[in-house]
Symmetry: C2
Subunit: 136 residues, 2 copies
């Protein structure tokens, strides 16, 4: 897989991570996400990791990076669906994901992002438009 799909949901973007992420894929995801934030004017990025049983320090750093870039682009980052064992591992690794909000599930993540109002979706209207299919 070259690319992880990014879905637009109201004013948020949703990424569901289901596979091990390696260097190139992480870089592609960071780039795609930042472009999509700008292109869609998204206010938040939700990263669903409910499919992951293990999160290593590489993944932890990727989440931190995404959060840092998103913040510069005026979007919050919310990690959703973390399994208890993953939370324990992250703390043991000394990665407590400061700067990343967490929520139990996508719906709570949407609330955190303040995107409850689903219809409010804007059309795309910004520079840097995406290369892939227009999701919104």
């Amino acid at each position: 897989m070259d690319r992880i799909p990014i879905l637009k949901l109201g004013r948020a973007l949703l990424v569901s991570i289901q596979v091990d992420i390696h260097d190139r894929l992480a870089k592609a995801l960071e780039e795609d996400l930042s472009e999509r934030i700008v292109a869609t004017g998204a206010r938040g990025v939700m990263i669903d990791i409910s499919g992951l049983e293990i999160v290593d320090s590489f993944m932890g750093r990727m989440l931190d990076n995404i959060a840092a870039v998103s913040r510069l682009l005026d979007a919050d980052t919310v990690v959703v669906g973390m399994r208890p064992a993953v939370a324990i591992t992250l703390v043991e690794l000394g990665l407590s994901l400061t700067g990343v909000k967490t929520a139990l599930n996508v719906e709570r993540g949407m609330t955190l992002i303040g995107s409850g109002q689903y219809e409010e979706i804007e059309g795309d209207d910004a520079p840097g438009g995406g290369d892939e299919r227009d999701e919104g």
Copy 2:
């Protein structure tokens, strides 16, 4: 990967398929989905295939199966994010996915499912950060 994550979004369930699906995974997904439909009372199932560059006849049949089971459980199935090349391949394979609705993206899928009104489910408040757990 043993399981594909199923996300609840309003009255819909969302599954993002990013990897090749083989027998056991397909069976697990069908079972998980039908259980979640019943457990959550979901009115629709969205299957995002924007991450797939190829859909073979096995995948086509799986989508048909999911749609058939969901219909029996009173939920619509909407396939979202299909790439043009995938649509062409499916037709060439003689799999035109009758019984499956399609939508360009998740937002349009939500509209099809009639789940536009996102707030309807939120019993949640908490605009501040914080980890919350309690599966929805």
